[in-house]
């Protein structure tokens, strides 16, 4: 049955950052240079083609954009300047908005002003909530940072964190299930055994933590910076959510705090490096920056900075009031980051990428099982 071509899709994708996609005349250089483009995946050319022809269902039905880590090699090779790398980036944004049923991420990607407004709104609400909580309900005072009478008592914040984590997990889970359904579940002629699902489950945490795939790119620095930012962020999350009490206890528990410091350095260093890169626009993957990229970086950097200020002022300087103010601002950065950025914007890729790797393995094994192994013929060497 013939699929309907929709030439209008390109216009829509331009709002997600795609540019010059129509210049591509399918010479195939990009897929030739992409280290990940191996049977049965054709990265990035197949997606470019489906995008050019506006085959929306096909585009939604593939996780190939998630297998691309934007090393930018393909964009350099492209003779027509069709920016395949950036197109894959914009496809990831578009897919994020497709997985999210609420339509919020679609709104945010389509107009960065909406997202900024949302972020500002959420941070103001957080501020008001904390202040109300702090002064009225908890009867804490500005001067007390920890222990009884603290402006922001640990257990309250803890509940808030857990609530946020629950919301975040719920949204990401539904979106991931939708991603699974779009790319694998509804695909009739793909039979993945239950055992295959179970057998490969370990891939999820493995890729989540190591971004092993990113390391296969030629240049290792992008992977390392990303790993640094990510691990620091995870450490910070673990410390804040699970070890909050100890983190806030009067005496410094060096075992926890060392990790804290390292994570902060990682976060600050990584984000600053990324921001400078995006300003200098020297590497290809920093050439094009979508507003959401800026917001994402600013939020993390802000959160990390305010976190350290709050820590230093309390731990080192004993200035509880300053610590409290810093903590307030810190929460004004953290809550929008967790509540808006993760579920409805760029950060949701932390769920989709590992899932994509997992699904890729499932697909490859299933397809290999279904079709007889096509003998990988060695290219014929003509006699000298």
């Amino acid at each position: 049955m013939a699929i309907r071509v929709n030439p209008k899709l390109i216009d829509e994708l331009e709002t997600y950052g795609a540019a010059d996609v129509q210049n591509c005349y399918h010479c195939g250089n990009c897929s030739a240079t992409c280290p990940f483009s191996k049977e049965p995946f054709v990265i990035p050319r197949r997606s470019m083609r489906n995008l050019q022809m506006g085959l929306e269902e096909k585009l939604k039905g593939t996780f190939e954009p998630w297998l691309c880590y934007y090393c930018g090699e393909c964009s350099q090779q492209c003779p027509r300047g069709a920016e395949p790398g950036e197109t894959m980036m914009s496809l990831r944004r578009w897919l994020t908005s497709r997985y999210d049923l609420t339509g919020i991420s679609r709104l945010f990607y389509r107009s960065w002003k909406a997202e900024l407004a949302a972020l500002i709104l959420v941070s103001l609400v957080t501020m008001v909530a904390f202040l109300v909580m702090g002064f009225s309900l908890g009867h804490g005072s500005l001067g007390v940072y920890a222990g009884a009478g603290a402006l922001f008592p640990d257990h309250l914040v803890h509940i808030l964190d857990l609530a946020l984590a629950g919301l975040l997990a719920a949204v990401l889970l539904t979106n991931s299930i939708r991603m699974w359904w779009l790319t694998t579940g509804r695909n009739r002629n793909l039979h993945i055994s239950l055992w295959s699902y179970v057998k490969n489950v370990f891939l999820l945490p493995y890729h989540f933590l190591s971004q092993a795939r990113y390391s296969q790119c030629e240049k290792k620095l992008p992977w390392l910076t990303h790993l640094a930012i990510f691990l620091s962020w995870v450490t910070m999350e673990v410390l804040v959510i699970l070890l909050l009490e100890r983190f806030h206890s009067p005496e410094t528990v060096w075992a926890a705090h060392v990790f804290g410091y390292l994570a902060t350095i990682g976060l600050l260093g990584g984000t600053i490096y990324a921001m400078v890169g995006r300003v200098r626009k020297r590497e290809t993957h920093y050439k094009h920056t979508h507003p959401t990229d800026w917001m994402f970086l600013i939020l993390i950097a802000g959160a990390a900075f305010t976190g350290i200020v709050q820590h230093a002022s309390y731990r080192w300087l004993g200035l509880d009031s300053v610590a409290n103010i810093a903590y307030l601002i810190h929460m004004m950065f953290v809550v929008p980051l967790l509540a808006v950025q993760i579920p409805f914007s760029k950060l949701s890729h932390l769920a989709y990428r590992p899932l994509a790797m997992y699904l890729a393995t499932l697909h490859t094994d299933a397809l290999a099982a279904q079709e007889p192994a096509v003998a990988q013929t060695e290219p014929v060497r003509l006699a000298a």
Binding site: I3, P7, Q22, N23, C24, Y25, M53, R80
Partner: protein
């Protein structure tokens, strides 16, 4: 007959002959043949030293016959005839044996190839014994030229000749000049107007006193030979009655152009049935009127262009019509500039962007967001009316090669890039001026690479799309090339007629007139008083039909006499 002294020269042609033919064995075999004075073998006979050797041997050994066993006579017969001429020997006393293209290159068995080479060389020796010296004749060259076809090619050729102060008769079948180019709005890739190209030429043609312009006219008959053609032109003037006019010309330039492929022949494109399926020329009319709209007068939201309509496929024409790809890109541009909101799909087989500036033009067409869809040339798309709830007039279904998907393309207006084909009546023109056509009906050039504007008939030249599909730059280049060739001949003043032609022996001719009707060039006259037939040397093309048919053997085919051929037959079987 004087005592025969034959020089036999056997070429190695590097390894081309020596690889399969034992050249020395051939030399030894022929050395002892009666009449053979010397027999040599040499690496490259056609090289200068090779040719000098022939000339030197002729002088030293007083050779009166030369046999060169080497490549095909079609390749170097002229070369070795000149070598003989340089040695003081009449060039027609030379004969070649083809022991390369028809021996060493096609027979790998060395023994058989060598035996064959011996036989062929022996046959040449037998034949050359009966060769007679022949002298070429000269005839006057009339400076006037007949140009058939008033398109860009005809106009260019006519102007080129007239500007060189020579008389030109420009014959155009229709009432207007400009040909197919006049039906076009802009030209690819620089989007300059066709009208600008033509008006300048047409005004100069009309103003030039040396060009006799004959509109509504056709060539009725052409008699004579290069330098001495008599053409009868038939003109239908306004009131429908016909006048005939005889003009004397030296050369003829055929520039009759092409006709577009009838898009109706591909039924599943729906041309003629679906109103909004138009051919490229119909779209050009829209462009010339300055209004792109569907038959119902609304601006098309979706437009589709289908390439290779009638070209590059098995059923219709295997060749590429060369101009439609760039014209299609031009239409994409014009569609977009007329209505930026229009989504243009370009459905092509391969994008032939071979000319100057074409690749950039292709890139800029991509940049205006044209969607390029590729299909396999023998799996043509199918056009059908869209359903009521579709937001377009028609849907085109095709197997798209780049994505290997079967897709449906929305289209409110479909433009069919119809290919070029030879004009339906090109056969008559070919017969009138006595040139041949290839199996597609295009006029055949004398040599596809070395001699593209001349034909195998001296004095008849072809220029432009009547010879094969080509774009405007090539057409103009060919028109000027043909004009230049003619100017060269006119400047020379005389034409040299090859010494090879038929000749009636009046002592033997019985006046039976068997030969009179056989000659396609009517080169044989019958003299009523003497009741004898006579061949006009300049008109005779030496085909030999009359020589073979003369019942009393009274017509001698110079250089292809019965004795020569009999000797060659005996020689090849010896």
């Amino acid at each position: 007959m004087e005592e025969l002294k034959i020089g036999v020269f056997i070429c190695n042609c590097g390894s081309n002959i020596a690889h399969h033919v034992d050249v020395d064995a051939v030399r030894e075999a022929v050395e002892a043949k009666p009449g053979v004075a010397i027999a040599r073998s040499y690496k490259y006979m056609c090289s200068n030293p090779g040719q000098d050797m022939i000339a030197r041997d002729i002088r030293e050994h007083q050779l009166n016959r030369v046999v060169v066993a080497a490549c095909s006579p079609r390749m170097h017969e002229k070369t070795f005839r000149n070598a003989c001429r340089n040695g003081g020997l009449n060039p027609y006393l030379c004969e070649m044996a083809n022991i390369r293209e028809q021996c060493s290159w096609v027979h790998s068995d060395q023994l058989a190839a060598t035996e064959k080479a011996k036989a062929l060389t022996n046959a040449a020796i037998n034949r050359v014994r009966y060769h007679e010296p022949l002298e070429s004749l000269t005839a006057e060259m009339c400076p006037a030229t007949l140009v058939i076809g008033g398109g860009i090619a005809g106009l260019t050729a006519a102007l080129e000749l007239a500007d060189a102060a020579h008389q030109v008769y420009l014959v155009e079948r229709t009432a207007t000049l400009g040909g197919n180019l006049a039906r076009v709005d802009l030209t690819a890739p620089h989007l300059d107007s066709a009208r600008d190209l033509l008006t300048e030429r047409i005004t100069r043609v009309r103003a030039n006193s040396r060009i006799t312009l004959m509109l509504n006219s056709e060539l009725q008959s052409l008699a004579g030979y290069v330098g001495n053609y008599a053409a009868i032109i038939r003109t239908k003037n306004g009131s429908g009655e016909v006048q005939e006019r005889k003009v004397d010309v030296g050369n003829v330039v055929v520039a009759t152009g092409y006709q577009e492929f009838d898009a109706g022949r591909i039924t599943h494109y729906g041309h003629g049935k679906l109103p909004n399926v138009v051919t490229s020329f119909e779209f050009e009319q829209m462009l010339r009127k300055g209004r792109i709209e569907t038959r119902h007068g609304k601006l098309p939201q979706y437009a589709a262009i289908i390439h290779c309509v009638g070209s590059r496929n098995k059923e219709f024409h295997p060749y590429c019509s060369r101009v439609c790809c760039m014209t299609a890109l031009k239409y994409a541009h014009e569609l977009k500039s007329a209505n930026p909101a229009c989504y243009v799909s370009d459905i092509y087989v391969d994008m032939h962007a071979f000319g100057k500036g074409h690749e950039d033009f292709y890139k800029t067409t991509s940049e205006v967001k044209t969607l390029f869809l590729m299909f396999e040339k023998n799996e043509r798309p199918v056009v059908r009316k869209a359903g009521p709830n579709d937001d377009c007039e028609m849907l085109i279904e095709v197997n798209e090669t780049l994505s290997r998907e079967r897709i449906e393309i929305p289209a409110d207006l479909i433009i069919l890039m119809v290919g070029m084909e030879a004009r339906a009546d090109s056969g008559e023109v070919a017969r009138l001026v006595n040139i041949s056509q290839d199996k597609e009906g295009w006029f055949m050039e004398s040599h596809p690479k070395l001699d593209p504007v001349a034909t195998t008939t001296d004095g008849i030249y072809i220029a432009g799309t009547c010879a094969a599909p080509k774009d405007i730059p090539d057409t103009v280049a060919q028109a000027r090339a043909a004009a230049a060739r003619i100017l060269g001949k006119i400047a020379k003043g005389k034409i040299e007629i090859d010494g090879v032609f038929a000749e009636v022996n009046e002592d033997r001719c019985s006046g039976c007139r068997m030969c009179n009707e056989l000659c396609p060039y009517s080169a044989i006259e019958f003299n009523d008083e003497t009741r004898r037939s006579h061949v006009i040397p300049a008109a005779c093309k030496a085909c030999g039909a009359c020589v073979a048919a003369c019942p009393s053997g009274a017509i001698k085919g110079r250089h292809f006499t019965v004795e020569q051929l009999h000797a060659q037959i005996d020689g090849v079987l010896a």
